[in-house]
Symmetry: D2
């Protein structure tokens, strides 16, 4: 039976590792060890006390951490403990430049590093229906596809870093679509238009997006703003997109501008609120609730 390891049992990683535990011998590690013990009790995984113990002898390693900085901090330990031939699938929403650098270091240790961020949110992680966008060696990806038990869709998008780049751009588009819809609805509300009727129309029309179809009706109009993906992390991802654009000497004035507004929202509203709470900043700028 294949042995896999999973490092990082946060809001996404915890259920992702749960899907693995049903099919593979799964070792889990978390910075706060209680989470790993809880996971072992709930899903039948093996809680490991340290990173090296989790990695030693595993055929596939998954990481799912807040940023590339946390991944880099574990790299020496991981590469020291890794068996030759380990495939490291990093599901963090990380930096393309960090992926390229880590892929080179990993190769020197006989390890294949794939940047493999996921999309679908906590509900997709619970259901095991995440989308995975993968950068790096396509053959290595094919070898580990059967272990991606948390995914409904796995797409190879390019060389090392390409997975992180696509994820960053996807999240930047989420940020733009969300922010623009907030602006439009706040203006309509000020003009005396019913926001729910406007959403109903937009969602049957050409201006619709995931933001108008799902996020705003479920989280903003209800005033619930449930914290499943933090505003500070969306601002971080928009910042990664900024660097993807800049490194490619590409021109993206709108993505750039919205990064600034998302960072402003995180600073003014709170980085630990749900990402949809960015619209609370729009509400202040318009002296108008969006409902």
């Amino acid at each position: 039976m294949t042995t896999v390891a999973f490092l990082g049992l946060g809001a996404m990683g915890y259920p992702m590792a749960g899907h693995l535990a049903g099919q593979f011998e799964t070792r889990v590690w978390n910075r706060t060890p209680e989470k790993a013990q809880q996971h072992a009790a709930q899903h039948g995984s093996q809680a490991c006390a340290d990173v090296a113990e989790a990695v030693r002898g595993a055929a596939v390693l998954f990481t799912c951490l807040p940023t590339s900085a946390e991944v880099d901090a574990l790299a020496d330990t991981v590469l020291g403990a890794a068996s030759a031939g380990l495939v490291w699938v990093d599901c963090t929403s990380g930096e393309p430049a960090a992926a390229r650098a880590l892929a080179v270091r990993a190769a020197q240790a006989g390890v294949v590093f794939l940047d493999a961020p996921v999309s679908g949110g906590t509900s997709g992680a619970d259901a095991g229906t995440l989308t995975v966008m993968v950068g790096g060696d396509a053959g290595a990806l094919d070898g580990v596809r059967p272990t991606l038990a948390f995914a409904a869709k796995v797409v190879h998008v390019g060389p090392s870093g390409a997975g992180f780049a696509v994820k960053a751009i996807n999240n930047a588009l989420l940020a733009v679509n969300l922010w623009a819809a907030g602006e439009g609805l706040a203006a309509l509300a000020r003009a005396g238009v019913d926001v729910s009727a406007a959403l109903q129309v937009i969602n049957a029309s050409s201006g619709r997006s995931n933001a108008t179809e799902n996020l705003i009706p479920q989280r903003v109009v209800t005033r619930a703003f449930p914290v499943t993906f933090k505003l500070g992390l969306l601002a971080k991802d928009a910042g990664i997109a900024l660097r993807v654009v800049n490194d490619a000497r590409a021109s993206a004035p709108v993505l750039n501008a919205v990064e600034g507004l998302m960072r402003g929202a995180a600073n003014a509203v709170g980085a630990d609120e749900d990402h949809t709470a960015a619209l609370k900043l729009i509400e202040r700028l318009n002296d108008q609730e969006i409902r």
Copy 2:
């Protein structure tokens, strides 16, 4: 049998009036009369030589013209020929301020004016599945709902002008979502990522919108850019949204910025190209084709 009139047989109006002609006694008028004669021959409507002839005795009047200016130019003739109790359903993508003014003038002539723009494009018009967003008297709308034979969904969104306002904001969101997706894909292409793979991922992820799901795969990546909705008209609608925002003293920096970029695209690429050809400007700014 109810008598209806339809003024303006353009790319949208022609098929919309066709759905009416199947159910009602339908009079049609067009600035170039050949179109009206063709419509009569194809759909069994009555071609009228002038506006007054079409309007006289009709219970419901539909207009579908390029801008509010063309509607205003017909208003004296329409109101002079109208029977008391006429309901005027203006499906133009018009100006809220023009709707408010015309509703007042119409009321003085015993006519009810409803601003009732549509969404769904030429394919929705052909299929009779348009969405209609209506501003003005809700009771009058209920009275004419049975005659909206071209619509799958009819939503009352507020007082006079609200229909035009929602349409303008919807199209402004279309403009933003389209432009931002173009920026993101151009940057990814420059970074060596496969655009089709990126679209596949985004469309299974949180950054998806009508632009990434339909417009860009069907029109941009194929290089077809079929002209069903002109870039100049999208720029005009984004300009109406600008005035909706400004009249409400609302704050919408992103909608504003994208209006400027759409107008720039119309000036630089051509107002008569399809609206998705705005991405040809992004391609120049990035020295990179989006495919």
Copy 3:
């Protein structure tokens, strides 16, 4: 001796009319009559109880009101009382479209309307060193140049509306230069750079503007924010610029975006604060004081 009339004794109008009173027979009117009586006592002008009394028999009429709406509200009375040949010099920061319409109406009454907004602030008004930018008949302007006693520089910039258009664009540039400098200084402050040293360098370098040379050192860094030109009025002027751009089918994404931010600042910080208090919004977006 030439008889002139001045309507609107606000922060700008009061000292402007004072310069006239020293050289001409000057009638003044203000919505709150106490200001007019105070002006008469201080400057030797004649306080008039109503607009018609002030205008009757005057050779030149000056107006200096908050917006074109207030000017339009007086137009019937002014044109009813005007002597043929009156030249009406409107120093309001008004709307080009309103100027074009009023110029036509005025001509029908034998009056020449010039849109003639001023720049230089309250200190320029006090010193009589304002810049006047004039749209409308150049010959009529030449005839009244000697009466523009409050100006150091008078420039004819084009046909009716051109004066208001240039003023709006000037103020939009002020808004952009001010906002961008605020962003840059907030970022530097967060990065540990001394703001005063940075301003010293910028003001000896290529990035300098009136905002960095005068406004920010005198009003923001000092935390004084003295109210000489209200934030709500700057937001209004940026909105006029938006319409100038849009009416000309011009592309100005940056001016557009900053209009949205200025309106957001007026809504969030307060329309009655000084225009430089827009940077208090930047401070919130950056969680960082600019000093």
Copy 4:
């Protein structure tokens, strides 16, 4: 007599090193050696065939290269040849992060690294009236102030990297002020206003900046666009500012957006044109010459 070395005799470095040669024993090096020989012949400096020869025994080292990448490429050679106590004054418009890293490496070799970019353009370099903004050890700066013979103003702005950060923000403000003025003048031109009259007014008003006072009248309205500072370098500097902002988790939507437009201008108009040729992109977006 103090011995100084100067590496990089480009459009700025050549005249800067000329001012040094008048007062100090000055060794010069350039990637293409002909420039160094020409400098020796013209200014009495000593042309060196390689970097190590220039650096060995010098008390102060100046570098003035296109980007931090070129500086980093020389660092091993420089630090290998440096005498203990060397003060390295890097006048490149570089990256703050590169400065911080290089300052640490330099200190390990007994060298003090100061990031010391300049402002004032080629005319300031010719006249010896540049402004220098310096990050790093203030005491070391005081020790070398007498050798900054090309400067009229030297300001210490903070720790390592602060000089580059201030320079980047200054140039980002230049980019914003220039672009916004271009947008405003293009709109006015389309509206029938005389551009020169508008500039005359703006330059006596609150919207004025270095861009409206100097660059646009001298370079754009004249259609001369003389290449003294390349568009590609301004786009690069705006990109550095983007990273300054992002690293500080600051919010700067307008600086961000203009970076995208400048990069777009460099891609579409040409990176080797003068920076003011960014307005040629505005002219295309407006189908209107700015003159």
